[in-house]
């Protein structure tokens, strides 16, 4: 199976690899997936006082598509309000990266990681956690 050019680009030059201080209240961390399943994504956001995401970092254990999905997610998150970020849909990632059907779970994982990071930030800052209307599990 061949990878799309965009997957290869994100995989070869992953954007925003790194770690933010998860104990900081302005940082939200989402850790999703499981080693047994072959995918673990950690996505972190730095949020300012206006609830706008100023920075995003990721680390991913997984295949090329999983790495590309999380790299793309960090790019999309920067500059978005946490409310807008909540609207990122896995199918947008599928489309942008031209993921084949067997790789859709990678995009689902990225969406889950975004939502988990936002909710972590929300709970830390006295906001209620949002429940996604769609469930992948």
């Amino acid at each position: 199976m061949a990878y799309s050019e965009k997957v290869i680009d994100h995989y070869t030059n992953p954007r925003n690899v790194g770690t933010l201080d998860k104990s900081n209240n302005s940082v939200g961390t989402g850790l999703v997936g499981a080693p047994e399943c072959g995918d673990v994504m950690r996505l972190q956001i730095q949020v300012d006082e206006n609830h706008v995401i100023t920075d995003a970092k990721f680390k991913t254990f997984g295949c090329g598509s999983a790495i590309a999905s999380s790299s793309l997610a960090t790019e999309w998150l920067k500059g978005k309000s946490i409310d807008d970020a909540m609207k990122i849909d896995n199918m947008d990632i599928v489309e942008e990266l031209a993921l084949p059907p067997v790789k859709i779970h990678c995009s689902v994982l990225a969406e889950d990681a975004i939502k988990a990071a936002i909710n972590d930030y929300r709970v830390k800052n006295g906001l209620e956690a949002l429940v996604s209307e769609k469930s992948h599990h």
Partner: protein, 403 residues
């Protein structure tokens, strides 16, 4: 050095140019049907087939009449297992095999279970070898066949075939082995090993694809299998179908080359393999899968913990290797072979199989070592699990959100 480098010789091997040369006349001037007994075209084809049969028989210590040409190892496995079940059903219905067999064996057995066969799937020990005590304990008077592979395709371990054959015979059962990965790579002798039926194929020994053979013993005991394909009664009635003459000639030539060059080649390859393996095992948190001693000379299988195999292969883009990770399959299940060794799913996902071959050079191996190390380090920089491991987090204590 040409890139990418082919290190997937357990999947298939390139055709040796000498094999190609031997095959070519049988595509044009010697195009006859080997079953045409009444003219020169048929005779020329038949002569090619007869010679190939000798070459193949010689490689494994058999006689020509014991070689049945097929389309490959999958067909040979099916013919042997289903053919024995049908032929010996009066005697019993019990078959013993093992969990790390190739799917051609496992699925043929599963098929027979639906037709009334009782199948025992022996587990393997941590090193990938079966426990002979367990085999003996599983034997019954209804056991007609023991089918255990010679060398494993994923980890390369070599089963104690001679001892297995002795146990099968002690209980009056036949011993069949899928020797696809072993024939042509290590000395395999059906007499010395006590093999009754043996499947192997051309394209794993520098021959063409689409041609294989089944060895069927003719003496002590005389073994029979029921044909699984009806037709013109070719191959002593065991496998109908016009013979693939160019393929068979190629298989014969490949067998001859393996017989003549095996000793030197296996020494050279095991030295290269050991170099690759020991260099990669120097890396932190890398583990060898399968028994270290009883192993085919050209293969090694290593898990690089905290990186995922498919992602790793993508970083090793100049190397053609394979992984036990099943990220490409919809099931998300990693290799059943690695899991039967007791490997955790994450280690199975992190495995890479390197298969060296006749045309692998030392320069290529050095390049592979360098690129693999670079790729592993790159992916570990990206891996949250590696970071957690380095921070001393016990990953087993983390509550993962399984998906």
């Amino acid at each position: 050095m040409n890139l990418p480098i082919y290190l997937d010789n357990n999947a298939t091997t390139p055709l040796d140019p000498r094999v190609l040369e031997a095959m070519l006349p049988y595509f044009n001037s010697k195009f006859g049907n080997a079953a045409s007994r009444n003219h020169a075209f048929g005779w020329a084809a038949e002569e090619g087939v007869d010679y190939a049969r000798e070459q193949v028989a010689q490689l494994i210590g058999a006689t020509e009449k014991e070689i049945i040409f097929t389309s490959g190892a999958t067909e040979s496995d099916n013919l042997a297992i289903k053919g024995v079940f049908e032929m010996y059903k009066e005697k019993g219905n019990h078959i013993i095999t093992c969990v790390t067999e190739h799917k051609a064996v496992l699925d043929a057995c599963k098929h027979l279970e639906k037709l009334g066969a009782q199948v025992t799937y022996l587990p393997v020990k941590e090193d990938g070898l079966i426990d002979l005590g367990q085999l003996e304990a599983a034997m019954t008077e209804k056991t007609i066949l023991v089918s255990i592979m010679y060398g494993n395709n994923e980890i390369g371990v070599i089963q104690p075939v001679k001892e297995i054959a002795a146990i099968a015979h002690k209980f009056g059962a036949l011993f069949m082995t899928d020797a696809t990965q072993a024939v042509g790579k290590i000395p395999v002798n059906v007499i010395v090993d006590g093999i009754d039926l043996m499947a192997f194929t051309g394209h794993k020994m520098y021959g063409p694809k689409g041609v294989g053979a089944l060895y069927v013993r003719r003496k002590n005991p005389r073994v029979k299998v029921t044909a699984q394909m009806d037709g013109g009664g070719h191959e002593r009635g065991m496998r109908s179908g016009t013979l693939n003459v160019p393929g068979i000639v190629g298989l014969g030539k490949a067998a001859e080359l393996c017989r003549l060059e095996m000793e030197e080649e296996s020494k050279r390859l095991s030295a290269l393999r050991d170099k690759l393996q020991s260099s990669l095992l120097e890396m932190e948190e890398s583990y060898l899968n399968g028994n270290k001693e009883n192993r085919l000379p050209h293969v090694t299988n290593i898990s690089f913990k905290y990186v995922e195999g498919e992602g790793l292969m993508m970083a090793m883009k100049d190397l053609a290797v394979s992984s036990g990770s099943a990220c490409t399959s919809a099931s998300l299940e990693p290799s059943y072979v690695l899991k039967s060794l007791g490997l955790s799913d994450d280690l199975a996902h992190s495995s890479i199989r390197f298969g060296l071959g006749r045309f692998t050079t030392e320069e290529e191996v050095d390049f592979a070592i360098e690129q693999t190390k670079k790729a592993v380090n790159h992916l570990r920089e990206l891996s949250p699990l590696w970071e957690m491991f380095k921070e001393g987090v016990d990953l087993d204590s983390v509550e993962w959100a399984e998906h």
